[in-house]
Symmetry: C2
Subunit: 142 residues, 2 copies
DNA sequence: TGACGAAAAGTGCACATGCACGCATTTAGA
DNA sequence: TCTAAATGCGTGCATGTGCACTTTTCGTCA
């Protein structure tokens, strides 16, 4: 998939890169049973556990309803446990199950391979700078 | 959607930015009848018309089958015409219809508003630099 | 305490994304 | 020339994405 001549649309530029990066990382994740999005959900959840739907969605820069959809296969496969929070019936308490933790740990190895492969080609410092600029782009588009 | 502390995954960083930028541009495109992806398909097609499926997909850094799916609503609504190419029955000849051209022209105004709004917040030169880095990221992930 | 607005989350819909698989056509080689 | 490989596309499936709408629950205030 060779890019065309000089994309001038910022939105298209980011989406194209997202498609290509996603393919690379998902290729590395093949065999772990996780998609790229699912890996990021589990990874982030493991850091802020227990989390609510809204909190985890904000952390992932993801729409609340999108996270709701994305949790379906994870809950179905027993990787994430969804419980009603204490004191407020409206709130969900999201946690990793033991299976979720072990799956995440195994997938982390595969993720690291993709991460390192990309950064060898793109540059470690350049990748860090790119991530910072992307974070700034998120702010600019908010 | 406030981003969490320092995303270290390049894939997640790009995907988060893609989600946020897409929301901004689609908000601007609301009323034109086009989604962000559809706008980019029409815009690119207008530059390389007539194009084949594979050619247009490569230009958009998009999987061939994804473009096939994405063309469905555009063809259904009469914005893109798909014909069999001369000399090779396997090849499709993609063209914008008159409706497609006028819709693209109208949507271009809306796109420009989003583009300028983003670049006012993010910086014009910084946006150009970001697009260049994203193009390099696509190469690195290929 | 009862009604009403706010907050948290779920659901249906349409489109986005790409892999696996299959079909039709073309080309290359024996 | 006839057949096998290569080429160009389409389709089914599962997931990703977010808007509009709904449901449930909580807090507030008269």
């Amino acid at each position: 998939m060779r890019p065309g001549p000089d994309v001038i649309c910022n939105c298209l530029a980011v989406r194209q890169a997202a498609r290509q990066l996603t393919q690379m990382y998902e290729n590395a994740l093949a065999g772990t049973g996780l998609r790229a999005t699912q890996f990021s959900v589990l990874a982030r959840l493991s850091q802020i556990e227990p989390a609510t739907m809204q909190t985890l969605a904000e952390e992932l820069v993801m729409d609340r309803t999108t996270l709701s959809h994305n949790l379906k296969p994870l809950e179905r496969d027993g990787l994430v446990a969804v419980a009603v929070a204490d004191g407020d019936q409206r709130v969900r308490q999201l946690r990793l199950t033991k299976t979720g933790m072990s799956t995440l740990k195994a997938a982390h190895q595969a993720w690291l391979r993709a991460q390192q492969k990309f950064e060898r080609a793109f540059g470690v410092d350049e990748a860090a700078a790119l991530r910072r600029e992307l974070a700034r782009a998120i702010t600019a588009a908010s």
